[in-house]
């Protein structure tokens, strides 16, 4: 109980987002009869890039890694922090030093204890230029002491601000009192790594025959591009509360094939292809589910020197944003329960209070009228129509949205928008080099905090493809990095974004799944969709 009270204390001290963190004693509700066969089979869109926690960079891979390895902290079904290998943590008064207390019964699948040194090794590994992890930037974002210098090759990885005080005490030194630092320890990059196994097998250490992991599951089978199987780790400290015995991930590239195979009973879960949610909801009301996700969908103006002159005028930008009928996009095109977007940050983000923006409350006809007035004010009309090109990456759904947008602009404002689609990598290259006029964009949060979205619009951000630059926004975002009262700062940024309209928010993503009725415990309220198979269960039919 000592550790738990520490957690409670730290929770109280550090951030409001942590309140309510607690361990669920058993996650199976009373009265549920469990199925004999506890196998969970789900569809995976693509082969994962890696199962190495420090290297993995895709969502599919992270889902597997989260089962195989356990970091300092976990998330519960609502996305709150709960203990993982750490039973809790303490932050120093200046919030620059964090001390995590590790549980003594945590073990690797080969029986070795999980110690603070495993974390020290893993975190140093994550920033080591020699490993060249694509997620090095995440460690830098965590503001760990010397991370940036090590990545730049100016210091040795041993200089990283992490320390094993003893076997069960892990200490982290930060360069700034980052308020959401503890949240970031649920990310795969920060999971422990087994040094002896990695040194013995090199790049091949994640193969089923070599891998040693400390999570609730171990990898037992892997045929790339076809399937991977993970099975219960008998050494896991909370093994007795794990219900699912076996998790099978089937790689199915085509979402329609995946749906067919789901309907044929081969899968317990799959994604619903765009546009099919309403009919599936009607036919299978208990299986088709839709819930908000931490992702946005927008179009960005090119505000750099290479962008069109017209977009420098805020009235033009606002007119285009206002004339978009978001209800038509979400209800007629996407049809998956996506919330229409009037802010850049999704409303589902924890601790984010969307400002009361005038356009969100208007009728579409009012918005259209305002758009017409603004565009006329900017000097565009029937004699001098606004013309530009809008680009998106090749995909059926993106095309439908782009067509709908261009038609809305044409009908309401007489704007001539030409559509152009590009293959993904070409699109990224062109957008990244500001070779566009108006471009599609989408972003999913790396952690549950508004800054993961709003940082995109920081003048210095490498992700700011539209090159929007606003001194006040930069200042507010800088303050948010260390402030305890961040909600008002984010709200003000969104207010500025409405006034300046550097991007046109279209909608926020929804997770749209078919979940078999015998699958229990799916965390629909976890907006990051960080799920753990150990918290799921199969119900007897």
């Amino acid at each position: 109980m000592k550790h738990m009270s520490k957690l409670a204390l730290a929770t109280l001290l550090s951030t409001t987002m942590l309140t309510g963190a607690a361990i669920a004693e058993s996650h199976v509700p009373e009265g549920v009869t469990l199925a004999e066969d506890q196998t969970f089979t789900y569809r995976q869109l693509d082969e994962f890039s890696s199962l190495d926690p420090q290297v993995v960079e895709d969502v599919d891979g992270a889902n597997v890694v989260r089962d195989l390895f356990e970091g300092l902290m976990n998330q519960d079904a609502e996305g709150n922090l709960v203990p993982g290998v750490a039973t809790g943590y303490e932050a120093s008064e200046d919030k620059m030093t964090y001390t995590f207390n590790l549980r003594e019964d945590a073990k690797w699948s080969n029986g070795d204890p999980v110690t603070a040194n495993d974390f020290v090794y893993a975190w140093r590994r994550a920033v080591d230029p020699e490993l060249a992890s694509p997620y090095q930037w995440f460690m830098e974002l965590m503001s760990i002491e010397n991370a940036a210098e090590i990545i730049a090759g100016d210091m040795a990885p041993e200089e990283l601000g992490v320390k094993a005080v003893d076997d069960y005490t892990f200490e982290v030194q930060l360069t700034a009192p980052l308020p959401y630092f503890p949240q970031m320890t649920t990310h795969a990059t920060t999971f422990p790594a087994p040094q002896s196994v990695i040194e013995e097998h090199g790049d091949e250490w994640t193969r089923p025959e070599n891998i040693v992991s400390n999570g609730a599951y171990v990898l037992t089978e892997h045929l790339p591009n076809e399937r991977s199987v993970r099975e219960r780790n008998e050494m896991y400290w909370d093994n007795e509360n794990t219900v699912i015995d076996r998790v099978v991930a089937l790689v199915i590239n085509d979402e329609n094939v995946a749906l067919t195979r789901y309907l044929a009973g081969e899968l317990d879960q799959t994604d619903i292809p765009a546009g099919q949610y309403p009919s599936l909801k009607e036919e299978y009301p208990e299986q088709a589910v839709s819930f908000p996700r931490l992702c946005n969908y927008y179009y960005t103006f090119n505000l750099s020197d290479s962008g069109p002159e017209a977009f420098q005028d805020v009235n033009v930008r606002k007119a285009l944003a206002l004339a978009v009928d978001r209800d038509i996009i979400t209800e007629r095109v996407m049809q998956g329960g996506q919330p229409p977007a009037y802010t850049f940050t999704p409303a589902a983000v924890a601790g984010f209070e969307p400002p009361q923006l005038e356009w969100a409350g208007m009728e579409q006809s009012e918005r259209d009228q305002m758009a017409k007035d603004l565009l006329a004010e900017a000097g565009y009309g029937p004699d001098n129509p606004l013309e530009f090109e809008m680009v998106y990456n090749t995909s059926e759904a993106h095309e439908k949205v782009a067509v709908a947008l261009s038609q809305m602009w044409k009908q309401k404002l007489g704007v001539q928008a030409t559509l152009a689609n590009m293959e993904w990598k070409v699109f990224l290259e062109e957008r990244g080099n500001q070779n566009f006029e108006l471009a599609r964009g989408a972003w999913c949060g790396d952690y549950n905090e508004a800054s993961t979205f709003l940082d995109l619009l920081d003048s210095d951000s490498g992700y700011n493809d539209g090159k929007f630059s606003n001194g006040r926004v930069d200042e507010l975002l800088e303050q948010a990095k260390t402030s305890d009262e961040r909600a008002p700062l984010y709200t003000e940024v969104e207010q500025i974004l409405y006034e300046e309209m550097p991007v046109i928010p279209i909608y926020h993503y929804a997770g749209v799944y078919m979940n078999d009725t015998d699958l229990g415990g799916w965390p629909v309220d976890n907006v990051e969709q960080n799920w753990y198979s150990k918290n799921l269960y199969k119900i007897a039919e």
Partner: protein
């Protein structure tokens, strides 16, 4: 004959070398690189990654290192996307699967196709002929990306007889639909080709002579007509064999077989240079070898051809 084979193999070396160099530069021309992503990497991180894969070297040096690694160590380099595996692994894992499907589809297409064609020609203008011809045309008109969905809907969803995809160690239930999807259009072509070739042969003088000698039809067909009939078919079968292996791209993706097709398409989309090059070289080499075998097979089918 032996000197002919050696000569052909020697010509193959510069052919494959040109293929490698051309593919190498073509891939580099495509916009975007393996590490272009929605989350552009900070310059320092990108530099670290590029250094690890030798992408910071000048192009000629990269090409030289690539070639020497292949020649000296038979090492096709690491995958840029799949960090835990290298190109040799990816090919070693995917190629046997593609080869299994490809060979089965090839056998199915040639055996059924030739049989349909022969029967149709022998019973020329009868209902058997019309049935065989319509089956052939039907099969030809249904490319694998149409066959795939039809098969899955029928056998997986409605009848519930076959699994909708996967490999599962190559169990027969998992092989049926991909093999059908892969083979039907070639089957149609082969049937059509065999039929017209057989009709032509049956009208030729030496067949008339054989018949006039009073030989039974079976002997005439098998001993005299079959070889010349198959000559044009064989020249088509060579490319078909390569097509069913490379053309398994769609089938691999659609039925999630774990074959090389998925890795090939994926590597093109993610600019995984090494995997893309490795598979291209494999397919190129295969084409060269199969062409050689086809040419050698001619000599057996047509005594007029000598090397």
């Amino acid at each position: 004959m032996v000197s002919y084979i050696i000569r052909r193999l020697l010509i193959a070396i510069p052919t494959i070398l040109i293929l490698i160099v051309a593919s190498f530069f073509l891939i580099k021309i495509a916009p975007g690189g393996p590490f272009t992503s929605e989350r552009p990497l900070p310059p320092q991180v990108l530099a670290n990654i590029e250094a690890r894969y030798g992408l910071d070297q000048p192009l000629w040096k990269q090409l030289w290192d690539y070639l020497t690694n292949i020649v000296l160590h038979f090492d096709f380099g690491p995958s840029f996307k799949f960090k835990d595996r290298d190109v040799n692994d990816i090919i070693a894992q995917g190629f046997p699967i593609s080869l299994t499907y490809g060979s089965l589809a090839f056998l199915a297409a040639s055996i059924v196709g030739v049989a349909l064609g022969v029967v149709a020609a022998i019973r020329h203008n009868s209902w058997i002929d019309y049935t065989a011809v319509s089956m052939g045309i039907g099969a030809q008109a249904l490319p694998n990306f149409i066959m795939g969905p039809i098969l899955i809907l029928t056998f997986t969803l409605w009848l519930g007889l076959l699994p909708g995809g996967g490999w599962n160690g190559g169990q027969w239930e998992y092989l049926i639909m991909p093999v059908i999807a892969l083979s039907t259009s070639y089957m149609g072509n082969i049937a059509r080709l065999t039929r017209s070739s057989m009709l032509e042969v049956l009208n030729s003088n030496f067949i008339r002579t054989a018949r006039a000698k009073g030989l039974p039809t079976r002997t005439v067909i098998w001993r005299h007509a079959m070889k010349p009939t198959l000559l044009p078919v064989v020249s088509y079968l060579g490319p078909v064999f390569v097509y069913v292996l490379t053309g398994s791209v769609f089938v691999d993706m659609y039925f999630s077989t774990g074959g090389l097709g998925q890795a090939y398409v994926g590597s093109a989309l993610t600019r995984d240079y090494a995997v893309l090059l490795g598979v291209t070289i494999l397919y190129g080499t295969l084409t060269v070898v199969v062409n050689l075998i086809t040419d050698l097979a001619y000599a057996w089918f047509d005594p007029k051809i000598r090397y």
